[in-house]
């Protein structure tokens, strides 16, 4: 309270800028949750951010050592150089990234925010290693969360970009627990100043936090990565909020906490879509050894292939075709070709809809973003419940590079790691055509029995090439 009054008396304009920033963040998040206002909401939040940043640069005052008069910030050269470098790199990276690589990019930017929080804590500690316990607690917490978020995000980025493989470390949970205990004990030592004059403690503690971040994400399977990114996103929010405590800065506080709580809710929504608990995601490794073993144990039946020509005929004479896109579509960059196929089919009087599973791809809503890029009309994208309702009247289901989201094991095999996850019930349709590159199991590493079911035919090949071939065939009919 006192701090705010102090800020208000010396700096009413800055406080107003911060208030403006906080309000735009709330408005922005609110508008981001509606399709019509989303883009504007993003821009409003960005405007608020700019006001808060420049307000800080020009209006912020701090007391230097002792009781001196508050002075403004200096080192403008450094600040502006940093801002310019960050803006140029950030804009270039964000403009250049492929739509398919979006999740990695978000993870990377999130890691940068975590690293920023980590560095702030590090500098503040170096400036005042003997600060009162309250301040040290804030520094230490900001540092742990920021570091874990940074290290974890980098690993998540590496996994999504295919640079880091899933790896289960034997006894990993015990190791993680020991590290966690180590972090807490070192934190207590640092905060309580039990060993004054040993900054090495703080650095050991920083290293442990980074190691924890790495080991925390390492064993989590690829299919769960969206949940992890969302969780790390809310971590960084909380780390930013600790910065708000540190500087009594209301806009950092509101911005950070808003993202922290909103991110947590989003994480839970994602878990719900997969019918898994957060605990399960964090502890159980999805693509781990257990899942592979149960998959192999099952007898591999025979699957049948379908020719390009037969597939085209089947679809051309259908009343309704439902396309179910998955990560395979994203990898093949086939969203435009897919839209083209949809138009060709519609010219022939076939109704085409898309069945969108909430966690298809690598991120919730990934498929929506991808298909929107190809100008597929919004109304054609059916959410899972609607898609399942319409499945009965559908003649052909075309699965493009999706796997786990149509795996019947989720419904009828209690031993399956994805048991209980709501799926698109494609077997209610008359025919199922599955386009895949090979018989390899999906991202979660689970065998899919759907491919061996009587209604299913396989159409192997790269999604884009297959779609192009289908379009050619269709035009000849």
């Amino acid at each position: 309270m006192e701090q705010f009054q102090e800020l208000l008396s010396t700096n009413p304009l800055l406080l107003l800028a911060y208030l403006f920033g906080s309000v735009t963040f709330i408005l922005g998040l609110k508008m981001l949750s509606h399709p019509e206002t989303a883009r504007k909401g993003n821009l409003i939040a960005a405007a608020g951010m700019i006001v808060a940043i420049f307000g800080t640069i020009f209006l912020y005052q701090h007391k230097s050592e002792g009781e001196g008069v508050p002075v403004g910030l200096h080192n403008y050269m450094w600040i502006f150089a940093g801002l310019i470098i960050g803006t140029v790199i950030g804009t270039m990276a964000a403009k250049k990234v492929q739509m398919t690589a979006m999740p990695e990019m978000v993870s990377m930017f999130n890691g940068m925010g975590g690293a920023c929080a980590m560095l702030i804590s590090l500098i503040e500690y170096r400036n005042d290693p003997l600060a009162p316990a309250g301040k040290l607690l804030i520094i230490v917490l900001g540092m742990i969360i920021g570091t874990v978020s940074f290290a974890g995000s980098v690993i998540a980025w590496g996994k999504l970009a295919g640079k880091i493989k899933d790896r289960t470390i034997p006894g990993g949970q015990i190791i993680n627990f020991l590290i966690f205990v180590g972090i807490i004990s070192l934190a207590v030592l640092v905060i309580g100043n039990f060993m004054p004059g040993t900054p090495a403690l703080f650095y050991a503690f920083l290293a442990l936090a980074a190691l924890y971040g790495v080991l925390f994400v390492m064993p989590i399977g690829g299919a769960d990565m969206p949940v992890v990114i969302s969780l790390l996103n809310s971590f960084t929010g909380v780390a930013a909020a600790f910065g708000g405590f540190l500087y009594n800065n209301p806009v950092m506080l509101t911005g950070g906490i808003l993202v922290g709580s909103a991110g947590t809710i989003l994480t839970m929504l994602m878990c719900k879509a997969m019918n898994r608990s957060l605990k399960n995601v964090l502890i159980g490794s999805f693509g781990g050894a257990k899942a592979g073993a149960s998959g192999e144990a099952k007898a591999q039946g025979a699957y049948k292939e379908i020719s390009m020509n037969d597939s085209a005929v089947l679809m051309a004479y259908a009343t309704r075709v439902m396309i179910i896109p998955g990560y395979g579509l994203a990898v093949a960059q086939a969203q435009h070709t897919c839209h083209e196929l949809e138009k060709v089919l519609e010219e022939k009087g076939v109704e085409v809809v898309y069945g969108i599973h909430p966690v298809a791809g690598r991120m919730p809503g990934h498929m929506n973003v991808l298909l929107a890029e190809a100008d597929v009309p919004y109304e054609k994208l059916l959410e899972m419940e609607d898609a399942n309702d319409q499945m009965g009247g559908t003649n052909v289901v075309l699965i493009l590079g999706a796997n786990d989201v149509v795996n019947p094991a989720a419904k009828d095999d209690p031993s399956s790691p994805i048991y209980g996850m709501p799926i698109l019930e494609v077997e209610k349709a008359e025919h199922v055509i599955v386009n895949k590159r090979s018989m390899k199991p999906g991202y979660a590493g689970i065998e899919n029995e759907l491919f061996f079911r009587p209604k299913t035919s396989m159409l192997f090949g790269d999604a884009k090439k297959v779609l192009q071939a289908l379009i050619t065939e269709l035009k000849q009919i």
């Binding site: 998040l29 399709p35 989303a38 939040a45 403004g72 960050g86 930013a240 506080l253 950070g256 597929v376």
Partner: protein, 107 residues
Amino acid sequence: MEQVTTFFNGNYHLITIVILSIFLGIEVISRVPAVLHTPLMSGANAIHGVVIIGAIIVMGSAHDGDYISLVLGFLAVILGTLNVVGGFVVTDRMLEMFGKKKKPSAK
């Protein structure tokens, strides 16, 4: 214990803001169509880039001779800016596509 009470008294307003913000965040997010999950995550990601303000404060109050602080602060400003700018630009790119196909359907 005494320290805890002093901390609480001194930060009463901040704590109120935190608690209210938690509820606000939950309220604002709980009604989001699945379509918007990715842009929303990305937008929220940009907003926590507000941590840049801390980096600016650290940088701007570092002493001239303290090169370690200057270098680390400089790095923090760059990383924070990356988070903010990259986050907002990526989100805008995603949402740009939603806008394109929204128009014909509205008319």
